[in-house]
Amino acid sequence: MELMPYIVKERPDTGLFNAKLGIWLFLSSEVMLFGALFSAYVLLRTGAPHWPHGSSILNVPIGAFNTVVLIASSVTMVFSWAALKENKFGKFKLNLGLTILLAFVFLIVKAIEYGAKFEHHLYPKTSTFLAIYFTLTALHALHVIGGIVVNGYFWGPGARMWQAEPERFVNRIEIAGIYWHFVDLVWIFLFPTLYLL
């Protein structure tokens, strides 16, 4: 017997299980959070007498590399879900492990980028551009860390659920994936906005 209704099977009226509705509600609030900061960026930029081109301050090849890393991690994430659907637990572990690894690569590259800025005495207080750059990218990095924690749990102790309740575990990985793809999606907009314009 299920402890709560609709944690595995879909509700007949909405066609969704609880966590699916929950993650989309959460992501809706996330859209408004990042949307508020994007609108702040637009307002600051249009109101500034001078605004530097992103590529004159930021390293475009490094930003592009991190974009590819995050896209690759999204692919391995969706592969891990597909592996569970195929009943291949080993393949799931490999792909989710790769997702976590790529997330760490993203953070390390970001830390190197931040370090290079600090070495040149470029801080959030230095200019409006750097203030919004650090705010947006740091908030995004916090979301990457959040994803690592969640995916790390499902790769480690949380994976025990696969033995007892496989369907529920597949749902959990799908939900974790939807969150992770959102983190990727935000970066897809952040990269051109900050680095290329």
Partner: protein, 103 residues
């Protein structure tokens, strides 16, 4: 057997989306080196980002086969997000007297 076949098809689709995203990333960077004006550069960069974002949302986040309730929810998100952006635009028409923009 049929489900396994479906998943294999899905995986092939994910590979195609991955390649498309990589190509679009290269295109975004390459186009940024062309000397467009700011307005054109913003439109081009954000259009490509929209296509990439749609690919991620539709295929990786499975929106393409999602239930109506999700789209109702996303309808509210689009409304409030656009409202937020339009408020900035509206601010141009509500400046204190004597304010000038310097460009």
């Amino acid at each position: 057997m049929s489900q396994a076949h479906d998943i294999k098809q899905e995986v092939r689709k994910y590979w195609k989306v991955f390649v498309a995203l990589l190509i679009l990333t290269i295109v975004t960077v390459a186009i940024s080196y062309l000397q467009f004006g700011l307005a054109v550069a913003v439109m081009v960069a954000l259009s490509i980002a929209m296509v990439k974002g749609s690919l991620v949302a539709c295929f990786f986040m499975h929106l393409i086969s999602e239930k109506k309730a999700i789209f109702v929810l996303l309808g509210f998100v689009v409304f409030f997000f656009l409202s937020l952006m339009l408020l900035i635009y509206a601010s141009y028409f509500n400046l204190p007297q004597g304010t000038t923009y310097v460009s």
